[in-house]
C-alpha cells in the first residue's frame, strides 16, 4: 500500500472485521424454544393472532410488579390474545422459586393453577420470607379447596419437577436471563416497564395486522 491513508483504512477494516467476528463467536446458538405448556397454564383461544409467552419466577419481586400490567393487558384484549405461562425459577437467588412452581403445577393438575398463581404473587412478600413456605401454601391450598392429600403427593412427584425443568430449559434455549421475560409473537420484552411501554402498543399493532 502506497500511502498512510490506505494503510489506515486497511487497519480499520481489520478492526471492524475482528469486531464482527468476535460478536459472532460470542453468540450462543439460540435454539427455538417450545411455547407449549400444559393446558392448565394456557389462557385464551388457540387461534389468537397474538400469543404472549411469559417466563416467570413466583419468588421474583419484578414478576410480582409486572403482574398488574400483564393482567390489565390480558383483560383489555380478552378473547383475542393467548397467554402461556412458563416457569423460570431463579434458584441461585430464590430458594422457594422451584417448590412454588411445583406447588402451582400440582394445583394445575386439579384445575386450580391460576387461582394459586395469583395467590402466590399477591402474597409473595409473606411466604418468601418464611423458613417453611409449605405451611403457608398448604393454607392457600385449603382455601382453594384442593384435594390436599393428592396435592401433597404431587409435590413429591418427579414428573411435576420435570415439567418445571422443561420450562427452565426452554428459557435457557431462548436466552432468558431475567424474569419476567415476555415473548409476544416471538418478540422479546423484559420486565414490567418494557411490557407496559413497548409490549402493550406492540400487541395493539399485531392485532390490527
Amino acid at each position: 500500500m502506497k500511502n498512510a491513508s490506505e494503510r489506515r483504512a486497511a487497519a480499520w477494516a481489520l478492526v471492524v472485521a475482528a469486531a464482527a467476528a468476535s460478536v459472532l463467536l460470542a453468540g450462543r446458538t439460540r435454539k427455538p424454544f417450545s411455547p407449549d405448556a400444559p393446558a392448565f397454564r394456557v389462557k385464551g383461544p388457540a387461534d389468537a393472532k397474538v400469543v404472549i409467552v411469559e417466563f416467570s419466577d413466583f419468588e421474583c419481586p419484578a414478576c410480582k410488579y409486572a403482574e398488574p400490567v400483564l393482567r390489565k393487558l390480558l383483560e383489555l384484549h380478552e378473547g383475542k390474545v393467548r397467554f402461556v405461562f412458563k416457569n423460570y425459577p431463579l434458584e441461585r437467588v430464590h430458594r422457594w422459586a422451584r417448590p412454588a412452581a411445583i406447588a402451582a403445577e400440582c394445583a394445575g393438575r386439579q384445575g386450580r393453577f391460576w387461582e394459586l398463581h395469583d395467590k402466590l404473587y399477591d402474597e409473595q412478600e409473606k411466604w418468601a420470607r418464611e423458613t417453611d413456605a409449605f405451611k403457608t401454601w398448604e393454607g392457600y391450598a385449603k382455601d382453594l379447596k384442593l384435594d390436599l392429600p393428592a396435592w401433597k403427593t404431587c409435590l413429591q412427584d418427579p414428573a411435576a419437577d420435570a415439567a418445571v425443568s422443561r420450562d427452565a430449559q426452554d428459557g435457557l434455549d431462548a436466552w432468558v436471563s431475567s424474569t419476567p421475560t415476555f415473548f409476544i409473537n416471538g418478540r422479546r420484552f423484559v420486565g414490567a416497564q418494557q411490557l407496559g411501554e413497548r409490549g402493550a402498543p406492540f400487541v395493539e399493532r399485531e392485532l390490527k395486522r
Partner: protein, 158 residues
C-alpha cells in the same frame, strides 16, 4: 526508583492489550445477547430518558468491541485509548450516581449476564481500567499497527 522508558513502554503496551481484551469480551458478551436484557440493566441506573435506553443498549456494546479491537491491534491508538478512558470514566460516574441515590442494582451490567460484579467491585474494576487506559494513551505505542500505518513496511537491508 523511576521507570525507564522501556518499562513505561511495556506497561503502556500491556495496559493497551488488557483494556482492549476486556472491552472486546464485555462488548461481545452484550452485543451477542438480547438487547432487551441489556436495556433492562441500563434502565436500573435511571440516568437516561426511557426512549433512549434501547438505542444505547444497541450501540454501546458494539462501541466497546470496536474500541477494544482498535486498542488490541494498536489502530488509532491515542483516539482508542481516549475513548476507552471516556467509557470507563462514564461507567464510574454512573456507578457513583447509583451509589449516591441509594439505588440497588441486581447486576452492574458490565459483562451482560456472564459475570456479575457488586457495585464496589465494579468501582474498583473501572478505576483500574481507567488507569490502564491512561497508561495506554501515554506509552502504549509499542507493537501497534499505528507504526505500520505511519511508516509502512520496510524490508530489512533496504
Amino acid at each position: 526508583m523511576s521507570l525507564t522508558d522501556r518499562h513505561k513502554s511495556l506497561l503502556g503496551a500491556a495496559g493497551r492489550v488488557i483494556v482492549g481484551a476486556i472491552l472486546v469480551y464485555a462488548g461481545a458478551a452484550k452485543a451477542a445477547g438480547p438487547t432487551e436484557e441489556f436495556a433492562l440493566i441500563i434502565s436500573y441506573y435511571q440516568l437516561l430518558p426511557r426512549d433512549m435506553v434501547m438505542t444505547v443498549a444497541s450501540f454501546l456494546p458494539w462501541l466497546e468491541v470496536l474500541v477494544g479491537w482498535a486498542l488490541l491491534l494498536g489502530v488509532s491508538r491515542r483516539a482508542a485509548a481516549t475513548a476507552a478512558g471516556a467509557l470507563f470514566g462514564g461507567f464510574l460516574v454512573a456507578l457513583l450516581s447509583v451509589l449516591a441515590r441509594g439505588i440497588e442494582l441486581p447486576n452492574c451490567g458490565c459483562f451482560g449476564d456472564s459475570v456479575h460484579f457488586t457495585i464496589p467491585q465494579a468501582l474498583l474494576f473501572d478505576s483500574v481500567m481507567l488507569a490502564l487506559s491512561w497508561a495506554a494513551l501515554l506509552h502504549g505505542g509499542a507493537f501497534s499497527l499505528d507504526k505500520w500505518v505511519d511508516g509502512g513496511y520496510t524490508p530489512r537491508g533496504r
